[in-house]
C-alpha cells in the first residue's frame, strides 16, 4: 500500500496535478466526486476525508451524516480530458463511519464483502462486460418528441468519417490512457448505438472501470458535441442498451469453470454456477435491471433475454456459454445477458456472484439447455420446457426481490431496505404518469 501511496504523492508532484477528485458511488450507481487539493492527499490517506453523507442517495441515514472517504491509491489516475496544464487526477474511495467501520451502505464495500466471501471459498471473481450505449445529437428531444441518434447505421457498419467512428477511437484512446484495456469496439444494431467491450479484470477493478467508462464516454461526447446515454431503452422500436457480462471464477491461477473434455469444456462448478444464476435470476432482476425503463429493453423481443434458460451460443437465452477455443481453458466463462448499461456495477456483480455461489454451495442441478430461439416458442411450450419469465416490470421485480433472502444477505439489510424503498418510490412516480401513448390511443377514442 505504502508504495502505491508514495507513487501517488510523487506523481502529483511530478505531473503538477492541481486537483484530485475523490470518486465514490451511491446506491443507485451514480458517480459522486469531491475535489481536494494536492496538499490534502497525504492527510486523506492517513485519516480519510470527512463529508456530509446525508445528501447522498442511500449512503447514510439522515441522522448519521458524517462519513469518511478513504482514497484507494491503487486506483490513482490522471484524468486525460482535463488537459495537462491544469492536470486533474482521480482515486476511488472506500467509505467508513467515524468509528472506522466500513459504511454498510457503500456499494463498493458491498462488493468487497461479497468478494471476500468468495475468497473464503477459494474463489476470485472475474468479469468482462460488453457495454452498449447510444450517441445522440443532443440531450434535447427532436421534433417528433424522440431522441435523435447521430447516425442511422447498423450492426458492425463501418461509417467512414462518421461521428461514431471518431468517437470510438477517441474513447478507446482515453480509456487506455486511464489504464482500462479495451477488448473490442463496434457499431451496434440501433442507429447511433455503439458497443465497447472491456478486457476482463477482477470484479472490483471492473466495477471501478465501468464507473470510469461511463464518465469517459460522456466526456468524449461533450468534446465532440454529441450526447451519450446509457439509458436501457431510449428509442422505441430500436434495440436497448444491454451490458452482457461474462463471468468466471478462478481458484488460484486455474479457471474453475474449465474442465477439459466435459460438455462445452464446462466444469461441474461452472454448471452449478449457471444453475444458481438461473434459479435466482428473477429475484436479482431489480438489481441488474434497476429502472422502470430497464423492463422496456428486457421485453422488447429481438435478442433480449426475457426467459430464464441457458444455452450454448444461443442468443435468446438468459445465460450463454460462449464459443471459445478448446485450447484456451483460461477463458472459460458464462455470459449473463440480463444486465443493462444503467445498473450499479458494484451491486449487480455482487448479486450475480452470490447467485452463482449459491448454486455451487447447494449443488444445484443444471436444467437441460435451450436449443431453440426461445422467443419463437409459444407460452405453453415455454411453460412445458420450464422457461420462467423474468419480471415484466420494475414492480414485479421489486416484489420478487422483497422476498429474497439471497439479495438481503448479499446487500446487507440496510442497503436492501434502501433499494426497496427507493425503487418503490420510482415505480409509484412512474405509475402516476399519463404517457403520450395513452393520450394518442385513448383521448380521441374515449
Amino acid at each position: 500500500m505504502d508504495k502505491q501511496q508514495d507513487f501517488v504523492l510523487r506523481t502529483i508532484e511530478e505531473r503538477g496535478v492541481k486537483f484530485v477528485r475523490l470518486w465514490f458511488t451511491d446506491v443507485i450507481g451514480t458517480l459522486k466526486s469531491v475535489a481536494i487539493a494536492p496538499a490534502e492527499v497525504e492527510g486523506a490517506f492517513a485519516e480519510g476525508v470527512g463529508i456530509d453523507g446525508s445528501a447522498i442517495e442511500g449512503l447514510t441515514r439522515a441522522y448519521e451524516a458524517d462519513v469518511l472517504l478513504h482514497p484507494d491509491p491503487a486506483t490513482f489516475q490522471i484524468l486525460p480530458w482535463r488537459g495537462e496544464e491544469d492536470a486533474t487526477a482521480r482515486m476511488f474511495c472506500d467509505i467508513s463511519t467515524p468509528d472506522g467501520q466500513p459504511a454498510v451502505a457503500d456499494p463498493r464495500n458491498v462488493l468487497k464483502r461479497n468478494l471476500e466471501r468468495a475468497a473464503e471459498r477459494g474463489f476470485t471473481f472475474y468479469t468482462h462486460p460488453e457495454i452498449e450505449f447510444y450517441l445522440l445529437k443532443s440531450s434535447k428531444l427532436g421534433k417528433d418528441g424522440q431522441p435523435t441518434p447521430v447516425d442511422s447505421a447498423g450492426y458492425f457498419d463501418n461509417v467512414p468519417g462518421g461521428t461514431a467512428h471518431d468517437f470510438r477511437r477517441a474513447s478507446v484512446r482515453m480509456l487506455e490512457d486511464l489504464g482500462i484495456s479495451v477488448e473490442f469496439s463496434h457499431h451496434e444494431g440501433g442507429p447511433g448505438q455503439n458497443e465497447i467491450d472491456l478486457r476482463y479484470a477482477d470484479a472490483l477493478t471492473m466495477a471501478d472501470n465501468i464507473m470510469t467508462f461511463r464518465t469517459v464516454i460522456k466526456e468524449v461526447a461533450i468534446e465532440q458535441g454529441v450526447y451519450a446515454t446509457f439509458m436501457p431503452k431510449p428509442l422505441i422500436g430500436q434495440p436497448g442498451s444491454g451490458m452482457h457480462t461474462h463471468a468466471s471464477l478462478f481458484e488460484g491461477d486455474t479457471n474453475a469453470f474449465f474442465e477439459a473434455g466435459a460438455e462445452y469444456q464446462l466444469s461441474k462448478i461452472g454448471r452449478q454456477f449457471i444453475a444458481g444464476l438461473l434459479k435466482h435470476a428473477p429475484e436479482i432482476t431489480a438489481i441488474t435491471n434497476q429502472f422502470v425503463n430497464s423492463y422496456k429493453r428486457l421485453w422488447s423481443g429481438d435478442e433480449a433475454p426475457s426467459f430464464v434458460c441457458w444455452g450454448h451460443n444461443n442468443r435468446s437465452a438468459l445465460v450463454r456459454v460462449p464459443l471459445y477455443k478448446p485450447s484456451k481453458g483460461q477463458s472459460s466463462r458464462v455470459e449473463y445477458r440480463a444486465l443493462d448499461s444503467a445498473a450499479n456495477p458494484y451491486l449487480a456483480f455482487s448479486v450475480i456472484l452470490a447467485a452463482g455461489l449459491k448454486g455451487i454451495e447447494n449443488g444445484y442441478e443444471l436444467p437441460p439447455e435451450a436449443e431453440d430461439n426461445v422467443w419463437e416458442l409459444t407460452d405453453s411450450e415455454r411453460r412445458a420446457l420450464g422457461y420462467r419469465p423474468l419480471p415484466t416490470s420494475l414492480d414485479s421485480a421489486i416484489s420478487l426481490m422483497e422476498e429474497s433472502e439471497l439479495v438481503a444477505e448479499t446487500l446487507g439489510e440496510q442497503v436492501f431496505n434502501y433499494v426497496l424503498k427507493n425503487k418503490r418510490r420510482e415505480w409509484a412516480e412512474y405509475r402516476s404518469q399519463v404517457t403520450p401513448y395513452e393520450l394518442r390511443t385513448n383521448l380521441h377514442a374515449l
Binding site: 508504495k3 492517513a46 439489510e413 431496505n417
Partner: protein
Amino acid sequence: MSRGRTSLTDLARLGFSDLRGAQRLLEQVEPTLHALFGRAADPDQALRELLRLREHGGGADALLADSDAAARLIRVLGASAGLAGFFERHPDELDVLSSRVQRLPDAESLHASLLAGVQGSAPEAAVDALRVRYRRELARIAAWDVEQEDPIAAVDSVAATLADLAGAALDVALDVARASVAGDKQELAATRLAVIGMGKAGARELNYLSDVDVIYVARASGDLTGDRAVELGTRLAKALTRILSGPSSEPALWDLDANLRPEGRDGALVRTLESHIAYYERWAKGWEFQALLKARPLAGDRELGARYCESVAPFVWSSASRENFVESVQGMRERVTANIPAAQRDVQLKLGPGGLRDIEFTIQLLQLVHGQTDPEVRQRATLPALKALAEHGYIGRAEAAEFADHYRFLRLLEHRLQLAGLSRTHLMPRDPEALRVLARASGVAANEPELTARWQRTKTQVRSLHERLFYRPLLSAVAALPDEDFALTSDQAVARLAAIGFVDPAGALRHIGALTAGISRRAIIQRNLLPVMLQWFADGADPDHGLLVFRRLSERLGESHWYLRMLRDSSGAAHRLTQVLASSRFVSDLFLTIPEAVAWLEVDADLAPRTLDQLIEEGEAIISRHGDDPDAAAAGVRTVRRREILRAAIASILGLLSVQELGRALTDVMTAAIRSALRIARTEPDGIEFGVIAMGRYGGRELGFGSDADVLYVYRPAGAEPEAARVRAGELVRALGALTEDFSVPLELDAGLRPEGRNGPVVRSLDAYRAYYERWSLTWEAQALLRARGVAGDAELLRGFETVADEVRYPERLSEQDIREVKRIKARVEAERLPQGADPTRHLKLGRGSLSDVEWLVQLLQLTQAAEVPSLRITSTLGALEAAVEAGLLTAEDAGVLREAWLFASRTRSALMLWTSKTSDVLPVDRVQLEGVARLLRYPAGSASRLEDDYLRVTRRARQVFERTFYAASPAG
C-alpha cells in the same frame, strides 16, 4: 558375569527407570562410569544413546577415557536426544565435549567459529557445513547449561547466547548467500542488507528452538539504484531462508520468519529504510508498533540496522497515545488467549493462563504506557524491562524480583523441553515419566510431584501478575500504601487508565482516591479489591460510570459489616457488581436508592424473583405495621416495588432471567403493588365490590422495565345504593392512582383501553360493562379484551368480568366485515401511530415485523378461532402462538420466525432501558448506544453493526410471515 555389576537398588538411586534393561546394557560400560549416569536427566536415554554412539566410531570411546569428559557426554546425551542424534550423524564433532566449557562464548567467537566452519566449502556444501557448525556450538552451550549449579540463574545468559548464535548463523549465511546467488557480483557487493531481529531474537532472549523473527532492510551504495538494491536484497533474503531453513542433508536450523514485516505475508520481503518508515507513518496497526519494541540489528549491515532501529523507535514510544491503542491492547490479550486448543490449555507453558505470555504481555503494556515519557524503561528484553520498571518506580521491587523468578523458572522448563528433542514445543508433558525426567533436567525439583506443584504455584501467581503490576500501583498514585516501596505519579496513573479504556481517566483516578483513602476498614479492603475490580470495569461498556457509581454506593454503605465481608470474601459478587454497574444506568441509578441490594449479588437465590404470594405477604405486613398511616404504608409498598424491579434488572443483566421470566416477574411486582394499594385504600367495608382488570402487555404478563400498566376498573354494588357505589368506585380509582404514584420509578395506571376510550367513564359497574358490550361493542374492544385478566379486588367480581369478557372476545363467529375492520385498523395504526420521522424498520414496538405485528397476528387468530379452540384462550402472546401451532392454524416454521422477532424486540427494548435508563422504542443509531445495547444482549465487544443487521433481518422475516398470514394475499401496489 557379576563383576562390577551395579545392583538394581543402586540403579534406581541413580535414576534409571528400566532397571533390568539398564543392568543388562551397563555390562558394556566400564563400571567406573556407571555412577556418572546419576547426573543425567534421563539416565536410560543417556545409556542407550551412548551405546549407539559407540557403534559409530571411536569418538565416544575417546571421551569415555577421560572421566570428566565422560560425565559431560553422559549429561548431554541424557538431556538431549536431539543432540545425541546430531552426534550420531557427525561423530567427529564429539570432540567439542572433550574439554570443560568454562564460560559461554560471546557473539564474536561464535561468529568466528561459524565462519571457520564454512571456510573453503563450495557454496553447495556450505549449507551443511554451517548447520553442523551451528549445532556443534549449540552442544557447547548445552553442555555448559546442564552443568550449572543454579540453572535458574543461568537462564538469562543462555538465552542471550542462543540469540547471539542465531545472529552469527545469519551473518555467515548471508556471506554464503552473497557467494551463491545469481547476479552481478559488483551489484551484489553494492547491496547493503540489514537483518533486524524481532521477537525473542531481537530481545536477545532466544529459546533453544524457536522461530527466528526478522525484518529485512536494503540500501544501495555506489551507483546502484534503490530498486535494484531491493531486488538483490530480496534474492539474498530468500537465499537466507533456503540456507538456514530449507531442506538439506543436515536438517534445517529453525524457521526464519519474516511475517512481522510491513503488510505481513502479503508485503514485500525486503524494503528500503524509507519505505519502512513511510509504512509505519501511515499504515501500521497498533500491534505492529508493539512488535517493534523488540527490534535490534541482528545480522548483516550493522550501521543500516542501527539506523532502522533509531528511526522506528519514536513510533513504538508514541503508540500508546494513538487513537485505537485500547482496542489494540484488548486485541493483543485476545490473541494471547484465543487460538489455544482446549486440550492444551492446562499444559501450555507459554500461552495458557499463568504462562510466559502473561508476563510478557503485562510488561510490554507497562513499557508502552510509561515508555512514552520515560526512556529508562525502553528495554527490549523481558527481564531487563522488569528491572527497569521497578528501578524507576512503576512497579514494586519485591514484585519485580518475584516475577523475574517466575519468568526464569518457566523459561528454564521451556529450555529443557526444547533441548530434549531439539523441537519447538511449549507444552508440558502429561506422561509422569517425562515429567520425572524434566524435574531432573531442570534441577529445580527432586521429582515429578514437586515439579508439578511448583509449576502450579507459579501459574497461580503469574495469573495475578497483571493485577499486581498494572492495576495495584494505580492506587499508589492517590494513596500512600504502607506496603509499597514506590508511588506512581498521577500522570503515570492517568496514562495507564486511559490505556485500558477509561474516557475520563483523571476522574477515575479521583474516584480511586476517594475509595482507597484513609485507614478505615473499608478503605483497606477496597485497596485490596480495587485493582482487580478496575480490570473488570475496564471490560464493561461504560467503565467510567461504573466506577463512579461504585464509589457512591460504597460511600452510602459505609462500614456496613456485611458489605465489607462480602467484598472481602466473595470475588464473584464483586465481579457481578462491576458487570452490572458498568453496563446499566438503570440499575446503577436504582442501586443508589437501595444500596443494600449489593448483598444479593452473592447468592443466586437472592436474585430469583419473589413469588406473588411472598410479595403480597410482605405488603400485608407493611400495611399492618402502619395501620393508621396510609402514606407511610404506601411508601413502604413503593420501596418493595423498586427493590423488586432492581432485583429483576440485575438478574436479567447477569443472564439469570430470560425475557419471558422477566415479564412475569415485573407483572407480579405490578400486581402486588396494586393489590397492596387497594388494601390501603379500603380499610373498612364500603358496600361495593371492586376489581382491577389487567389489559395489554400487563394482562399478557409481558411487562418490561418502564411499561405502563393497562387496566380496567369494575365495581358492583353490594349493599350500597347505585349512585353511592359509583361514587365510591371513583374514589377508589383516584386513591389507587395516588397511592401507587412513584416519581423515581414511575408507575402509570392507564385505563385508556376502556369502552369508549378516553371519552368513557373511568370506572363502570359490571352490569354497565355487560350492557355496553352487548349493544355497542366494537371489534377493537373485543381485541383488547383478549388480554383481560382480573388481578386485584374481589374474586367473585373478577370472575364475573372475565365471563362477560369471554362472550365478547371469543365470539362464535367473527363476520368478514369485523375481520376486515381488524386488518384495517392495524394498517392505520402502522401509518399513524409511528412517531413522525421514525424509521419503521427500527421501531421496536410498532415497526416492521416487531412486537405489534406479532401480537396483532396472534390476536386475529384468537378472535376468529378461540371459540373452537379453547387452548387459544390465553392472554400471553407466545402462549397463544404455541397453541395456534398445536391447533394447526400456523406452521411451526412461521411461528418460530414470529417468536424469534418478538423475543428479539422485547430483549432489545429491555436492554435499551437498562443501558440508558430511559424508555425508548427505537433501535438506536448512535454507535455508542448500539454498542452498550449489544453488550447487554451478550454480543462480544465491537458488535454494533452485527446487532443492527441481526435485528433488521429477524424482523424482516417476521414481516414476511405477517404479510402473508395477516393481510393474506395483499394486493400488490
